[in-house]
């Protein structure tokens, strides 16, 4: 039988001979990522099982990233709780809080490799699909089940084939593409589906750019987002891991529920207006909306490609006096690289506030919480009511290019005019 990538990887992790979409199956998990949720809910839930072990302490990746360093006493308590758990169950990959955001650090350390099945206590766990593996978010109770047994039930998803051709134009980024795709699919258009990215257009996308895309597939409801592999991925993995892996391609004749074609050169800068990632508009339609805050960072867009683009736009410019620009690298490795390349210097000269790596403002945690009625343009992934602070604040999602351009003018700005 011909299978999609999702079907192949799920089959490979089950004890079955074949799988079909809609089927409920049990799979063995290769790796589980947990963050502050460990102290938030998982700890209490896991204790209910009254067992003194985890199935495999070597297959757990534990990191603190959402509220680091702790902004409040309750966050600090949550961290203490996490550490207690990690120590008690002898976690081997206890990453701490000084490396960065889970979805950046885990791949950087070579933990996401082709063919793997990875789950994580975070909805944006879909990010690792950029590395030709299957990964998805689960809740605290599912994490407990994996901790205890190493297995989890899955419904085999139908797949959508998304064929990419061509190259993005100047000033347009992979963020614009994924926002456009979410707009086209709607936020419920891909519930439970696996989005499989095909086509020659992949070659023109950096690994950073692919991660932005797989990161946000969940905003269309998708369970997985997975890229076909290529030479760029081979090169990236070579620098990160010596563990052997095998690429996964879909079979000839694999069945897709829907097929979509995108020519990347036709993608233009877009924003997601308040308060849904699917509320897409061309940047021209909202140009001139005055902003109080601009944010470049998060697991969606805090990488080198994003910073290089922002620096290109900000170099020699000052941000508008009515606006604040917050820049947060997705990992401390990126922070170092940006320092070396002189990007941090450019950001500081422009008047930006540069912070340590954390989820921080994206979850309204700290380092840039919005006040009542404020308007923010953000490179992050969600613009829900109250997401970044006050419920009356409004969030526009956009590419780092659009965010940088907007911070200079103090109002939403098409970045193409500044490049």
């Amino acid at each position: 039988m011909s299978n999609t990538i999702a079907e192949k990887i799920l089959l490979d992790h089950s004890n079955l001979k074949d799988v079909i979409p809609g089927q409920f199956i049990e799979c063995e998990i290769d790796l589980i990522m947990v963050h502050e949720q460990l102290g938030g809910r998982i700890h209490k839930e896991y204790e209910k099982l009254e067992i003194d072990y985890v199935w495999d302490p070597n297959k757990i990746f534990f990191i603190l990233d959402h509220w680091v360093p702790a902004p409040t006493i309750s966050a600090a308590e949550m961290h203490q709780d996490c550490r207690t758990f990690a120590k008690k169950y002898k976690f081997i990959h206890n990453i701490g809080m000084n490396k960065g955001i889970c979805h950046q650090v885990l791949p950087e350390m070579g933990f996401s490799r082709p063919g793997m099945l990875i789950v994580g206590s975070d909805s944006h766990t879909t990010t690792y699909g950029a590395f030709n593996c299957l990964s998805t978010g689960i809740g605290a109770t599912d994490v407990s089940v994996v901790f205890a047994t190493g297995n989890l039930w899955f419904k085999v998803p139908e797949s959508f084939k998304i064929i990419l051709e061509g190259l993005l134009n100047k000033g347009t980024m992979s963020k614009d593409f994924i926002l456009q795709l979410i707009g086209d699919l709607t936020t419920k258009g891909a519930i439970y589906k696996s989005l499989e990215f095909h086509g020659d257009g992949i070659k023109g996308l950096s690994i950073d750019g692919r991660m932005t895309i797989t990161n946000m597939v969940v905003e269309a409801g998708a369970k997985f987002g997975v890229f076909l592999p290529d030479d760029r991925l081979t090169k990236w993995l070579k620098e990160r891991t010596s563990t052997p892996y095998k690429y996964v391609y879909p079979d000839e004749g694999a069945v897709y529920e829907k097929e979509f074609n995108y020519h990347l050169s036709e993608i233009t800068p877009v924003v997601a207006k308040p308060s849904s990632p699917g509320n897409i508009a061309q940047v021209e339609e909202v140009e001139g909306v005055e902003i109080d805050q601009a944010f470049i960072g998060s697991c969606t867009n805090g990488r080198m490609e994003d910073f290089r683009m922002a620096a290109k736009i900000l170099k020699g410019n000052k941000i508008n006096s009515k606006t604040r620009l917050i820049i947060i690298p997705a990992s401390m490795e990126i922070y170092r690289e940006a320092l070396k390349e002189g990007l941090i210097e450019i950001f500081l000269n422009a008047g930006a506030i540069v912070g340590n790596s954390t989820c921080g403002p994206c979850v309204g945690g700290h380092m840039g919480v919005l006040g009542p009625d404020e308007i923010c343009i953000s490179s992050s992934n969600r613009n829900f009511v109250g997401r970044m602070g006050a419920p009356s604040a409004q969030i526009y999602l956009a590419s780092p290019a659009t965010v940088a351009a907007s911070s200079i003018n103090g109002k939403i700005t098409d970045p193409r005019g500044l490049l």
Partner: protein, 166 residues
């Protein structure tokens, strides 16, 4: 027990997300019953009072979209919500509901089926909702047996515990 669920409806709109249910800034609260006081506080400031009687939630499409935070199910559990009926559920949210032992019923309902405050009786094993207020029966596609089993065991951890200590 789960085959006869009785309660009164509370109607919600489409696309209620996990930040609507538990705002991010309530997530670090260590006391879960304190956290539950924040449930839907921006959209429905009186929800926590209302839910004492209106304990069956009727939602639109894509209910629970957003984060994997299980708190967004747990607060409903703490507040005594007995079932959630939605046109569609976000994937992680649906898993979390079943895992914590709250029946999630997918049903493409309309206004003639339910209004706010209707008195319902749900028979999960039969796939039938009887609306006592409207004297109307609505049927839904039953859950797969293994999910029903999780609900009968009052959540997947109880079920797992039974297996582990068999």
């Amino acid at each position: 027990m789960i085959n006869k669920i009785e309660g009164y409806t509370y109607i919600l709109v489409n696309d209620i997300n996990t930040d609507d249910i538990v705002p991010s800034n309530a997530l670090t609260l260590r006391d879960t019953s304190e956290m539950a006081k924040h449930t839907l506080r921006y959209l429905h400031p009186n929800f926590v009072e209302m839910v004492k009687k209106h304990n069956i939630i009727i939602a639109g499409e894509n209910f629970g979209t957003g984060s994997s935070r299980e708190e967004a199910v747990n607060v409903f559990k703490i507040l005594g919500v007995k079932a959630i009926i939605a046109k569609t559920f976000a994937r992680i949210y649906f898993r979390n509901l079943i895992n914590l032992g709250i029946p999630g019923i997918q049903l493409n309902w309309n206004e003639t089926d339910f209004s706010h405050g209707d008195h319902l009786e749900i028979a999960l094993n039969k796939g039938i909702i009887f609306n006592k207020t409207k004297n109307k029966e609505v049927s839904f596609k039953k859950l797969p047996d293994f999910l029903t089993k999780i609900l009968e065991d009052e959540g997947i951890l109880n079920q797992l515990k039974k297996k582990l200590f068999k």
